[in-house]
């Protein structure tokens, strides 16, 4: 596998275009969480001409619905692992185009529309170990802000984190059109008839 890179926000398009699928990266700086509802809401704001609450250009976007508690008037991140990214495939290409996020972090991969948008607008998708909520929380230095909390609730809100060496993350979609998860998924498709045979199913 490739080189170890620490990306600092704001991340430039040039830096992103140097990365290759399989590279291990870390992110330091500002990261914003967004799940289904936040994607929908921000795109709706943009399309209806409203200003979105935080400028995402050059930042890392994290598919995550964290557990956060308030201690002495300060937000404290308890657990913050990645959520399944596939649900965001229906929004992500438009999202990259509209807001110029540079690194999208999640688990389980994204599809062809996102791969194309990564190539076209200069973004990567990086996989973080699913369920590794405590490792993630440890890399989050503080909560800088939160938006849409009342409207969307804790897991869906837009949390703005300051992070240090957030990772290790595996680049799974790069700007050259490579998508590791799609490669694996093609392999699974190819393997399936062999697996059928193993359990006595022929001619499928």
């Amino acid at each position: 596998m490739g080189n170890d890179v620490v990306l600092k926000t704001p991340i430039s398009e040039d830096e992103i275009r140097k990365l290759k699928a399989g590279d291990t990266i870390y992110v330091t700086g500002t990261m914003v969480t967004a799940r289904d509802e936040a994607h929908k809401e921000l795109l709706h704001m943009k399309n209806s001409g409203q200003e979105i609450p935080v400028d995402l250009n050059g930042l890392a976007l994290y598919h995550c619905g964290p557990i956060i508690k308030k201690e002495n008037d300060e937000w404290k991140v308890v657990a913050a692992g990645p959520t399944t990214s596939a649900r965001m495939e229906m929004f992500e290409a438009d999202f990259i185009k509209a807001f110029k996020v540079r690194v999208i972090i999640g688990k389980g991969g994204l599809g062809p529309k996102t791969t194309k948008a990564c190539q076209e607008y200069g973004a990567v998708y990086a996989a973080f170990t699913g369920g590794a909520a405590i490792i993630a929380a440890n890399a989050i230095r503080r909560v800088k802000n939160v938006y849409l909390l009342e409207k969307l609730g804790m897991p869906e809100a837009l949390w703005v984190f300051e992070v240090e060496r957030f990772g290790p993350l595996t680049v799974a979609i790069d700007t050259h059109g490579t998508n590791l998860f799609e490669i694996v998924s093609k392999e699974v498709e190819e393997n399936i008839s062999k697996v059928y045979k193993m359990v006595g199913i022929e001619n499928e």
């Binding site: 692992g81 688990k107 389980g108 170990t129 369920g131 590794a132 998860f181 694996v184 697996v195």
Partner: protein
């Protein structure tokens, strides 16, 4: 009498809060052992990096008494109520109260979302169903509760198949293989695969979920079913999904199958997947208020 009954109710509530805490923060030993074994048997770098993060994460969670995963799931309770246990009808309210308390005290992520009113913020649904409770009345004096929170990622890739009986056992195997292949990376592999065969559309899914509570590595007592479990386990790991769906290492830790009788016209198959963070705890309260709390289901 009234006083001691109130006391017992408080003891149940407190011990269920602790059961929810244990389930969220501590991986049962059979699951953590299985993951460590995978790590030591694994030679591929990609799988090793992922497994190392998984192990480091659950060890930290244990040490810090924090949830292993931020998705602390939707809560289900499997209740065995001894016929002579003094608290009966009030139990549901006590389990609900304990869930609300654990949501604040552990804390758990609020995961109960009402279709029209949004997140309830308490992990308790507005319509009396969530947390979900499976009831069983048994002989004896004790209350036994298995606490099982289950995350959304692996539930989303679980499937029901109402197969045509003619497809037989081969058809069942194919459905299981197709389900895991389709799940791919989405539900946080390595998976534990629960399979429920028979009953009806609802019963087979419940049976599949219950099958996840069996210890990893433990085979079904019926040798025919045990053989099918072993066969599917090795076949599924040849799909090439890998740890975290990155194509390297084993994507399935175990397959547990349970069966029940079916309607002659139906062959229902439920496949319930669990992510690597298969969480549960066991709480027993005697009628005198003695509490046992464990990560192991006896």
């Amino acid at each position: 009498m009234n006083n001691s009954l109130n006391n017992l109710e408080k003891i149940i509530e407190d011990s269920i809060v602790e059961g929810l805490r244990l389930a969220a923060t501590h991986l049962p030993t059979d699951v953590s052992d299985a993951l460590k074994k995978e790590y030591s048997n694994e030679s591929g770098n990609v799988a090793k990096v992922q497994l190392e993060a998984i192990i480091k994460n659950f060890e930290l969670a244990d040490e810090l008494k924090l949830p292993i995963c931020q998705d602390t799931g939707v809560v289900a309770f499997f209740v065995k109520l001894g016929e002579n246990f003094p608290v009966k009808a009030k139990l549901k309210d006590i389990l609900i109260k304990a869930t609300e308390r654990a949501t604040k005290e552990v804390p758990l992520r609020p995961n109960a979302v009402d279709l029209f009113k949004g997140n309830t913020k308490t992990n308790v649904g507005l319509r009396g169903h969530i947390p979900w409770i499976y009831w069983e009345i048994v002989p004896g004096d004790d209350l036994e509760v298995i606490v099982m929170p289950k995350g959304g990622g692996s539930s989303n890739v679980s499937r029901l198949g109402m197969l045509t009986p003619g497809v037989g056992i081969k058809g069942i195997k194919k459905f299981v293989i197709d389900t895991v292949a389709k799940a791919g990376a989405k539900g946080c592999p390595p998976y534990i695969v629960g399979v429920g065969i028979g009953g009806g559309e609802d019963m087979c899914m419940t049976l599949a979920k219950k099958a996840l509570l069996r210890k990893i590595g433990e085979r079904h007592p019926d040798p025919k079913i045990a053989e099918m479990e072993e066969e599917l386990l090795s076949a599924l790991n040849k799909l090439g999904i890998g740890v975290m769906g990155l194509g390297d290492g084993n994507a399935v830790l175990d397959v547990h199958i349970e069966i029940m009788a079916r309607h002659p016209a139906s062959l229902p198959v439920g496949v319930v997947l669990s992510c690597w963070a298969l969480r549960h705890s066991y709480v027993k309260v005697t009628k005198d208020g003695k509490v046992t709390l464990s990560d192991h289901i006896p």
